[in-house]
Subunit: 277 residues, 2 copies
């Protein structure tokens, strides 16, 4: 175990003097609570590779007494996995365990109400630490405000406590990097959508897109692939699962087994190469 | 001047053992050139705040003998500005100066041909260093493959030299973080578009979007605002310029002076809050 603390040393060396360098945060801090309380950090930890965290998020991570993260029952959660190598033993873990994962049970099960109650309770567990004066880092795969579950904590806590959101590398650009494909040239439009959409909506969205990213595949993969093939986009579409994680897989779209597609998978339809360049 | 090298020390401490930790790159490296040559790194340096670079990009930056970056004539360029505090004096700067910036001259000026020749020449200047065995870090604001000028180097060099793309925090999520607004909930679709689009295209795209980001405003601002107002989106739209840079500005859309809007500005139309949470 090295005694070296990577964050203590993370500071610019040489070059010009910058108001923003060092410990001064540029990212806006919303503070509406006159009470002395801990700070809430919504940290984008990136797509999976521990080194794709930003220097700022890493610094906030190491400053926080409490590390909050979402995970499925009996799972560690991808966000915790990607930062665990940076954590110290004295940092308290606060797991927020989803009551439902995968396809929700049909009514009369109240899915929306169950999730609302879960997010309410999660926010109160985080708030208890903040009120006690402890900084809380809420971990988010990718970026906190881009399909991230941090949004539900933000909606409940940002007006009550000093809150800082540190943006992260989102899965869309991480997927483009591992696929080594330029995603959008010049004034092309990018449409980002969830594979959970109904087939007709997917077809309409994809037909009108110059470049597209389809997230949240999992059990929706077969439907998404059908739409892509019907639109004649099969040759342009690229598939990757768990981009930048240790078990990353890149496969031709035609060879993907729909029964094996994880939630953390993505199809990109890159924009046409700019002919001028 | 501290003698400390932040990248030499950037390594995970404690926690679980990971195949990916340390110096093993997860992000795919494409290697097609049997010759021994330098490596080309396309580095996303993030939206402007020097601390919003990733640990991986910072490590690659410090490993590179040559730092290539685009800039306007007699300008430093935002990409160089955001990393300059991390650079050493022994690292060679390779500025790639745009022949045209702002609105291109009308025909008979051959804008496309001029830009193609510029990107060709830029690629050859980079290639000369790679052939000489020097690693080259090509800097990109935000992410390299998301509207980034690195794409033109990638198109010309990735098949000839060992190339690694390190994704970065893109301006869309950085803007959401400084505006502290959740951008897309659950199944919502996000449309990312350039303000340079014709008014009718902007209107069609925005009318069909659940959430939207409009980039590249500059002289297109007035047109974009007109479309947003006509669609009744004025109350939801948020404006920020130079998000996370030292001169960042957040203003109400109605109060923005169209004559003062920089290229590095953004309008977000966040998705409606999920009612279930």
């Amino acid at each position: 175990m090295a005694s070296f603390d990577p964050v203590a040393g993370v500071e610019p060396v040489g070059g010009i003097e910058r108001v923003s360098a060092g410990s001064e945060p540029i990212v806006q801090i919303k503070s509406k609570d006159p009470e002395k309380s801990g700070r809430l950090f919504g940290l984008g930890v990136g797509p999976g590779d521990p080194e794709l965290i930003t220097v700022k998020a890493l610094r906030r991570l190491r400053e926080s007494a409490v590390i909050a993260y979402y995970a499925g029952p009996r799972k560690r959660g991808n966000a915790l996995t990607s930062v665990e190598s940076w954590l110290r033993e004295d940092q308290q873990r606060l797991p927020l365990i989803y009551p439902v994962t995968g396809r929700p049970p049909p009514p009369p099960f109240d899915y929306e109400g169950t999730m609302r109650a879960f997010y309410d309770a999660s926010a109160e567990r985080v708030a208890a630490h903040l009120r006690a004066g402890r900084d809380v880092a809420a971990l988010c795969e990718g970026d906190p405000l881009f399909y991230g579950s941090f949004m539900y904590l933000h909606d409940r806590l940002a007006d009550r406590f000093e809150t800082e959101v540190v943006p992260g590398v989102c899965s869309v650009v991480a997927s483009a990097s591992v696929l080594q494909t330029p995603l959008v040239y010049r004034d092309q439009t990018l449409s980002v959508m969830a594979g959970t959409l109904p087939e007709a909506d997917l077809e309409r969205m994809l037909a009108g897109a110059q470049a597209a990213a389809i997230m949240k595949l999992g059990s929706n993969f077969e439907k998404v692939r059908r739409v892509i093939m019907a639109l004649g986009l099969g040759d342009r579409a690229l598939y990757v699962e768990r981009a930048t994680m240790t078990n990353e897989q890149i496969r031709p779209l035609a060879e993907v087994d729909p029964a094996q597609v994880p939630y953390f998978s993505m199809i990109l339809v890159p924009g046409e190469h700019w002919q001028g360049a």
